[in-house]
Assembly symmetry: C2
Homo-oligomer: 393 residues x 2
């Protein structure tokens, strides 16, 4: 008789976004004439850059002609793309070799799949508040989980604990808090990982929102990281690829457990359980990483940054405590008057703005809410006015 | 200290295609003027159908306009595609509901990922000869493995053994042998699975090559399969998507282990470890499943079928024993004169034709070789002449 993975029973059902959606739809029913602006979901709204659209169409034409048709590609991605990614890292002051780069169809997928390389006896160290997928994939694997607190005192940038752990999740710029580690902050984690022989799984999905170039855009800007870290990156937010799907994972050659190279294990894993990323989408990504492509995607990123400025200045004017909004597409604000996350959610919704209650991201999220800056400018302007109405600014 | 997955040490390095490539390149160096035709690799050569190319370009345009841009899609795939897949199953006499269909980026990926739903204490039952990914993903998981023999006596269609097992891999039409189960053959497996409370992982990647409509194109044509089987399908060979990447997995509602619905577990797994398939590629797949799309892809499939006929008739003329070639893109032939797989490979290579030695697919493959029918017609015609030269026909 086949035995199922009992760890699934330990998954905590995530009602967060479902509950948000249900409250919003109830509100809309009762207030059919009121405009409701969603700053809740972390999804982009600006279209793909023109150079990316052209690249996809050209690739489609190639695939439609026998002479230029492409069948199976390399599991690790085409070199035309991996060499561009290598060059991109160099502009972020991180030196990565092509054979350390693996193209995939999204950071979330690889963050889940990477656990194949490890035993289920490991303890995962996860920040709270947190992006739920880290917890879920660790639970499915059967890993133990310890938490480190992000909170007011540490500016939602947890520091290494005084206990041991094996697999460390770090996301910077952070989802949901928008907080960004500086060099020293990440160096402490690298030192902790090296001394514990632990592995850092570094989620760099929001790296390009870092405007302050003194802040590291990659864990591989940090000395020692090549011995302990794997980086997961994505074009989802960088280039509006949430529906187009492409990411990459970097595993340095120096990352070894005993005699085992994690890079080589991952290459073997991908050969057995992955069949390469769509050629068409890899051509789209190649266009993103071109000189003109980076210019075009930065227009969208600057647009979202301006959104962040507008919302941040509304919160500043009202002297509401918040994190992020600079170097990050997320704004994480403290509920005025010590209200709970859901109370603030309800208050904002009554004014026609949807945020995400911070308590949905973990215990330490209670009393905070997340706003995303991926909306339309008009909506953002209206929403920041509504914020002022709601909070009496 | 992080512990790595020790099961990786039990993976047998696959030198098969590397050794083929190395022998071929050595031969070409020594015989620079000789034309070498590869019928070794199982990759398609005909381009995407025009309707598919158009769908990709239209989707790219949609993604380039704010009004029609698509961000994150549903983890399980868009309903526009899943409803088409449901209709497709109906034409194959299998009734599937939309919420039992999960779109993904390839059968190999999902065949690996599905093991997340099960414990590592299970015994996998794998046919020999076999597509190597089943073995590799079972080894990485840590499952025990038992084999059932495909051989001359059973026409390379293994029957259920007299011992128990938990996770049963079946591929029909089969890679590498080209053998296809009929209704009764699959019914025996369904009965075995039901009585053992085992799960069948059914790889239907080559279903559309079945021309004889009395043969089942889906495990769900078989009575009882909805209680015991998961089906993995792919457009790789059906529509030339090996480099474009799209597949789907079907898990019926009736498939439960105790109180756990495997369909619901998979939905949860995908929400945690997958982020949906590219919208652009889903639009491409939607075009495949349209009336005109199916007509266009059948032109390619008929082309490959004609290749199979040409090669089959060469083998028949020489009275060489073979399997497949009908209802399948693979031809599995017995080495003349009791030669080993590699001896026959060397003989054919000396005439300028590359096949795949059957011994690379498992013990029972010894003495056989695989030919694929995905080549150009000119190459196939030349190759069948060379086959006659090599085997003295």
């Amino acid at each position: 008789m086949v035995n199922i993975n009992k760890n699934f029973e330990n998954l905590v059902p995530s009602y967060l976004f479902a509950e948000v959606a249900s409250k919003v739809s109830e509100f809309k029913e009762k207030n059919p004439d009121m405009e409701v602006i969603s700053l809740g979901i972390g999804d982009v709204t600006l279209p793909l850059a023109p150079i990316v659209v052209d690249a996809i169409k050209n690739a489609a034409d190639e695939m439609g002609e026998k002479e230029t048709f492409k069948g199976y590609g390399p599991y690790e991605g085409y070199e035309f793309l991996r060499s561009k990614i290598k060059d991109y890292y160099a502009t972020n002051s991180a030196n990565i070799e092509i054979d350390e780069i693996f193209v995939g169809d999204g950071a979330k997928n690889d963050l889940g799949a990477i656990l194949d390389l490890f035993e289920e006896t490991n303890v995962a160290l996860i920040p709270d508040p947190v992006y739920p997928a880290y917890v879920d994939s660790s639970v499915i694997k059967g890993n133990g989980i310890s938490y480190v607190s992000g909170n007011r005192e540490n500016g939602f940038l947890p520091t290494p604990p005084d206990f041991k752990s094996d697999i460390i999740y770090i996301c910077s710029p952070n989802n949901p808090t928008g907080a960004v580690y500086d060099y020293d902050g990440l160096k402490r984690w690298v030192d902790y990982a090296v001394s514990n022989k632990a592995v850092i799984l570094f989620d760099a999905a929001y790296e390009r929102f870092i405007a302050d170039r003194k802040l590291p855009r990659s864990i591989f800007c940090i000395e020692g990281a090549r011995e302990c870290a794997i980086e997961f990156c994505s074009l989802s937010k960088t280039a509006g690829f949430t529906g187009t799907r492409l990411g990459h994972t970097v595993i340095p050659r120096e990352l070894k457990i005993g005699n085992s190279s994690l890079r080589d294990m991952w290459a073997r894993r991908q050969a057995s359980k992955y069949n390469g990323t769509s050629y068409i989408i890899q051509k789209a990504a190649e266009a993103v990483y071109s000189e003109e492509g980076l210019k075009q995607i930065d227009i969208s990123i600057d647009y979202y940054r301006k959104n962040a400025e507008i919302m941040s200045s509304a919160l500043e004017d009202m002297q509401i405590e918040f994190y992020g909004g600079k170097n990050s597409p997320y704004i994480w604000f403290a509920s005025p008057d010590n209200a709970s996350s859901w109370e603030t959610f309800d208050l904002l919704l009554s004014h026609g703005v949807v945020c995400t209650p911070g308590s949905g991201f973990g215990e330490n999220g209670e009393g905070f809410c997340r706003l995303t800056t991926f909306g339309n400018r008009d909506d953002v302007l209206k929403a920041s006015k509504k914020l002022r109405d709601a909070f009496g600014g």
